[in-house]
């Protein structure tokens, strides 16, 4: 038997795999997303189409904003915030402190959760070091968009389509994280025992 025949028979003997239809691709994508670890900067953003009406503009309290978040965040937020961004879109975000490699009764984790619960997002000021952070600059946004475009061009079969985020909400969440870390550290506790998971969404204003 020549190589060509042997190789053809070997290739044909590969056990079949599930057809890569839409349902399997969606399930695979879900597994990829779900296994990505929660980290402080992992903000999951959706934009529009979540049922938040313009009527909520200006009148939503943090407590009210947490209700729709529960439907899609995938976790019960410890805290939530809401605001209207510079484009006039109403945005809400939820946050939860998670133990990172420790038990639920870990002192650092519990202290971090307590600090988060005590933050008043209605009056929280974003410090300059957060507002001026490169991550929120136009340059960073352009670089990220270029990187994603380059990747998507090279991998049309597995494109990245990150949802747009709301920088103001992200800055508030970063500010909260800084406060949490500073407070936990001031108690002499380990700041590596927790992460802050957050997600948000914005409803576009109908103009």
């Amino acid at each position: 038997m020549d190589d060509e025949t042997l190789f053809a028979r070997l290739a044909a003997s590969a056990p079949p795999t599930s057809p890569r239809g839409d349902r399997l691709r969606a399930a695979l994508d879900e597994a990829v997303t779900a296994t990505r670890p929660a980290r402080q900067r992992r903000n999951r953003w959706l934009l529009g189409g979540v049922g938040l009406s313009v009527a909520l503009l200006g009148g939503a309290t943090a407590a009210f904003a947490s209700e729709p978040l529960l439907d899609w965040l995938g976790f019960a937020p410890d805290q939530s915030l809401s605001h209207t961004n510079s484009d006039g879109d109403f945005c809400v975000a939820g946050m939860a402190v998670r133990p990172d490699g420790v038990e639920d009764d870990d002192a650092s984790f519990l202290a971090a959760k307590k600090v988060l619960l005590g933050i008043d997002f209605d009056t929280l000021e974003i410090p300059d070091n957060v507002r001026d952070n490169y991550a929120y600059s136009a340059e960073a946004a352009a670089a990220k968009a270029a990187w994603i475009a380059e990747h998507n061009a090279a991998h049309p079969e597995a494109t990245l389509q990150p949802a747009l985020s709301d920088p103001e909400s992200s800055m508030l969440i970063d500010t909260a994280y800084q406060i949490i870390v500073a407070d936990v550290a001031s108690e002499g506790l380990d700041t590596s025992h927790f992460t802050l998971e957050a997600g948000g969404t914005c409803a576009e204003v109908v103009r």
């Binding site: 028979r9 003997s13 056990p15 969606a26 597994a31 990829v32 670890p37 991550a135 991998h155 597995a158």
Partner: protein, 171 residues
């Protein structure tokens, strides 16, 4: 590379290779649906090692397959964990496949299965998964020269075992 860049790089790597990794596991795990759990564990381990992911696409692909292979070996040694993150994928993989293969395909598969573990793994990586012999050597953690000699021996054994015309052509 900064942490954020490392994470974006790894996510891109995983998304680009997820389907092939799943196929790799599907072909080697019985019941096939358990591939969902091993795949998820592969992703979790990859994220734990995000700082060690090779920067190149090819190197990154080999690295992911090497992790999947280790997870597969562990899965064969121990009871598999059922992961909540893999439930939907598991359900999809539990759908029965229509095509189980021709008689000759089953005969060849049986012959491959009779090879030693080391020989079988190389043959499968090359002919089932489409890797070059050098890539297969990388994934299995052996030198290229060792892979060449093992592959030559495996081919010789297969020639002897399959020294008949493909069964489908006889009918």
């Amino acid at each position: 590379m900064k942490r954020a860049e490392q994470e974006m790089h790894l996510e891109a790597l995983i998304r680009a290779n997820a389907s092939d990794l799943l196929a790799y596991l599907e072909r080697r795990i019985d019941p096939r649906a358990d591939a969902a759990d091993v795949l998820s564990e592969t992703f979790l381990v990859a994220w734990k090692k995000v700082s060690k992911a090779p920067s190149g696409e090819v190197g990154g692909r080999m690295w992911l397959f090497a992790i999947a292979r280790n997870m597969l070996l562990n899965a064969h040694r121990s009871t598999r964990r059922r992961l909540a993150v893999a439930i939907r994928l598991r359900q999809e993989l539990e759908q029965p496949l229509v095509d189980i293969g021709s008689l000759d395909e089953l005969v060849v598969r049986e012959a491959v299965g009779q090879l030693s573990v080391e020989h079988r793994e190389l043959v499968q990586l090359v002919h089932w998964d489409g890797f070059s012999l050098v890539e297969a050597a990388h994934i299995t953690g052996i030198s290229s020269s060792t892979a060449r000699s093992r592959y030559a021996a495996a081919k010789q054994r297969l020639r002897v075992a399959l020294a008949v015309e493909p069964l489908d052509s006889l009918s």
